[in-house]
């Protein structure tokens, strides 16, 4: 039986796998795509660590900035752990060979890593590799996994956790290529399955696959989720394609302008404030632009080469000479699987969660740019170690095949259903509904409408199905299973947003525009025992 089963092959999953393996565990990484396809590749701006390579900085300042941005909703011990671990995290990455951007300071190792300004930071703290930071970290992790002989199982879609006596025993997957349901037994499981930003279909910087599969599986298995209402909207996505333009564009000195060519906000405020300011301009009928023309060709190509290419390709503007039309869209989900100090899922022993899928309570109501890459590496290592420790004393008695048989029947039923309605238009309307009514500025009346619409969509889901009946390589089936997960999570987000009658960080509600101490707590949701899949 495998000691540590890692689900998800992004930065968090690969890091957890490397650390569990180093501890001595047998490890398997299972993912629905290939290891380097993950959302981590899209992280651009940087990874925070108070190295002080460019001007004075201290771990205590990093902690203070993170706590301030979290608006009272973080666990300060977890924040302290993450920020204190940051310098050695960069050292670890440096040792693996991550090709960071460099300073010319005649120093060695991590002290040569270049650092840039990000929003809400009191120092130049984000270590970067041009505007490809996530990509270059992810690929270096992958190369290292190959070096360390980490086993991978690609194209396996997570179905359900197998939980007995509140302890995880294994996981069921759909082998996408073969179309078969499989069970993998494991002593410990690490969920590294990513966020649920793709719920905002059409209004998100996220990849199609960020549908919160792991968060939904934990709910179904009786685990807890928390802070689901906290969705970060990134201030600067390209207007027509929702493609991300990194915060580093503002960190390096870019301006935000309205149609009159006026700046209307301090561009280096945290993302929640900047996104709301842009949204307010758009509500007034203004178009909003990012202006980086004054940075000059040399600086743009040196620091933001990817952004320049994306603007030309998708928006037909040259950032050197033109204004970049932007709009704020869903970017990051602060909430997710509720975990304890060891990153173990509340409600499921032996199951750990790390990265965007988890709520380790380090971001609170609003995440700082540069802290998500830090979380996946610093806590990825921590999760791998803890999963290994759990596996040492875990029972090696395998689970029975009840869940596998159940999942097999459900998949089979999808194939036998005839004349089902096409779910793709619903995926689109779910995105429209969320951006419109569960978006940057919320209102109770609109939230209630959204909840009703989601419930009626859940009822119609029984009439929906797949029209592609191919057993093998059926992407139509995977799209549908992903949509079902998104639809399962939708009410948790809306109901938590309804319950939170205040404004805090990324959650902003008309009629309740201030923080209210009565709500300075996490909203934790868990299914009743009889509703879970056991």
């Amino acid at each position: 039986m495998i000691d540590v089963l890692v689900i998800g092959s992004g930065g968090a999953g690969l890091t957890a796998a490397l650390s569990a393996k180093k501890e001595g565990a047998s490890v398997l990484v299972v993912g629905k795509t290939y290891p380097t396809n993950s959302q981590t590749s899209m992280a651009q701006g940087g990874i925070n660590a108070a190295l002080g390579n460019v001007g004075e900085d201290h771990v205590s300042s990093h902690i203070a900035d993170t706590i301030k941005s979290a608006h009272g909703l973080c666990d300060e011990d977890m924040v302290r752990q993450m920020c204190a671990d940051a310098p050695q995290t960069i050292e670890w990455l440096e040792n693996l060979g991550v090709p960071f951007s460099r300073l010319d300071n005649a120093k060695k190792g991590k002290d040569t890593v270049a650092q840039r300004q990000m929003g809400g930071a009191s120092a130049k703290r984000a270590c970067y590799a041009q505007d490809y930071t996530g990509l270059k970290i992810l690929h270096t992790l992958y190369d290292t996994c190959l070096k360390e002989n980490i086993n991978f199982l690609d194209e396996h879609y997570l179905l359900n956790l197998i939980v007995k006596d509140d302890t995880v025993k294994g996981v069921t997957f759909l082998d996408i290529q073969a179309g078969e349901v499989k069970q993998i037994d494991a002593k410990s499981v690490v969920m590294a399955t990513g966020g649920y930003g793709a719920l905002y279909h059409g209004y998100t910087t996220n990849a199609y696959g960020s549908t919160g599969d792991g968060v939904a599986a934990v709910l179904r298995a009786g685990g807890a989720v928390s802070d689901m209402e906290f969705i970060q909207f990134h201030p600067t996505a390209l207007k027509h394609s929702s493609i991300l333009i990194s915060e580093s564009a503002r960190g390096e000195g870019g301006y935000l302008l309205n149609e009159a060519g006026e700046r209307f906000i301090d561009e280096l405020k945290p993302r929640d404030e900047v996104a709301r300011a842009i949204f307010a301009q758009i509500q007034e009928g203004q178009r909003v632009f990012l202006d980086v023309r004054h940075l000059g060709a040399e600086k743009l190509m040196e620091l933001l080469p990817q952004e320049v290419a994306l603007c030309k390709m998708h928006e037909h503007v040259d950032p050197l000479t033109d204004l970049i039309p932007i709009t704020p869209v869903a970017h990051y989900t602060m909430g997710g699987i509720d975990v304890d100090y060891a990153l173990e899922v509340n409600g499921i022993k032996g199951c750990f969660a790390v990265g965007e899928c988890s709520n380790a309570k380090v971001h609170g109501a609003n995440r700082l740019g540069g802290n998500s890459l830090l979380e996946i590496i610093a806590f990825g290592r921590f999760a791998g170690e803890n999963a290994y420790k759990h596996s040492i004393y875990a029972s090696s008695k395998p689970a029975d095949t009840t869940q596998k048989e159940k999942d097999r029947r459900e998949i089979k039923a999808l194939f036998s259903q005839e004349d089902r309605s096409n779910f793709y238009p619903y995926r689109e309307s779910l995105g429209d509904l969320f951006y419109g009514k569960v978006g940057i500025v919320r209102e109770n009346k609109q939230l209630h409408v959204a909840l009703e619409e989601v419930i009626s969509m859940q009822i119609s889901q029984k009439e929906m199905g797949i029209s592609d009946k191919s057993q093998t390589n059926n992407q139509n089936l995977i799209d549908f299973l992903e949509f079902k997960n998104a639809l399962l999570l939708a009410p948790t987000i809306i109901s938590a947003a309804i319950a939170r009658d205040e404004s805090r960080g990324a959650h902003y509600k008309v009629g309740f525009e201030n923080e209210n101490d009565a709500f300075k707590q996490h909203i934790v949701l868990q299914w009743k025992k009889e509703e879970t899949c056991k």
Binding site: T33, T36, N37, M42, P99, Y132, H139, D143, L310, N476
Partner: protein, 238 residues
């Protein structure tokens, strides 16, 4: 606007109609799947040219579907030299194995004093997104399926010149067989790379490093320069 897509089940090109106007190929494929034909199968991810998932061939040339703007009459086919799983979706496992064979990672890491110019030495090479476009465009695979190929060799080069590497020779040792000398330097890989990487140049550089480590081009070794070759046997009796 009409485009043709190679369907694996029938092995024929199927005609699809799209609304007029500029549209990235990935959006067009998604549009077809959502509204016309849910069986059309392709791979997709980030929409922003960085996850490496969606490479296909358009009119015989490798393109990222998310970055290519559709033109009337385009013919869309899967990558070459990859087993086709279904329609435009291919199996990338064999191609990925080249990374294991080249051992493209830091063999023995040491602390180093890196500078801005050191960053520049591998900046382009580390933009690689493993989309496999170069692998599909490489004509060597038509004759040698075991060739290590452009992306793996670019990655081997990137690590072999990293100042943090204290055993670059191991990498050089591992790229001799089916490696640097098997490349024809035709430059097809460089032409199709969506990130502007130049594997041809990297392979040329690796040849230089190989010579420094005492290796030679094996095709030269089979030629004989030591003794004159008269093209006939002088002892064969006149």
């Amino acid at each position: 606007m009409q485009i043709k897509i190679l369907r694996s089940k029938t092995n024929t090109h199927q005609l699809y109609t799209l609304p007029a106007g500029e549209i990235p190929l990935l959006n067009a494929l998604t549009y077809i799947k959502e509204t016309q034909d849910a069986t059309l199968t392709f791979s997709a991810g980030c929409r922003a040219s960085v996850c490496g998932t969606c490479a296909v061939r358009v009119n015989g040339r490798e393109e990222l579907a998310c970055a290519y703007k559709v033109k009337p009459g385009d013919i869309i086919e899967p990558l070459q030299y990859h087993p086709v799983l279904r329609d435009l979706k291919v199996d990338k496992h064999k191609a990925k194995e080249t990374l294991l064979t080249t051992t493209s990672w830091l063999q023995v890491s040491k602390e180093a004093s890196l500078t801005h110019s050191d960053e520049k030495l591998t900046e382009k090479q580390t933009d690689c997104i493993l989309c496999d476009s170069c692998y599909s465009a490489c004509p060597v695979y038509a004759v040698n399926p075991d060739f290590l190929g452009p992306f793996a060799l670019t990655r081997a080069y990137r690590y072999s010149i990293d100042k943090r590497e204290s055993d670059a020779k191991s990498i050089i040792d591992n790229i001799q067989s089916n490696g640097v000398w098997d490349c024809t330097l035709c430059g097809e890989c460089t032409a199709v790379c969506p990130k502007g990487i130049d594997p041809k140049m990297d392979i040329t550089m690796l040849r230089g490093l190989s010579v420094q480590e005492g290796y030679n081009d094996p095709s030269f070794m089979t030629q004989s320069f030591g003794t004159p070759d008269f093209g006939f046997d002088p002892n064969a009796g006149f």
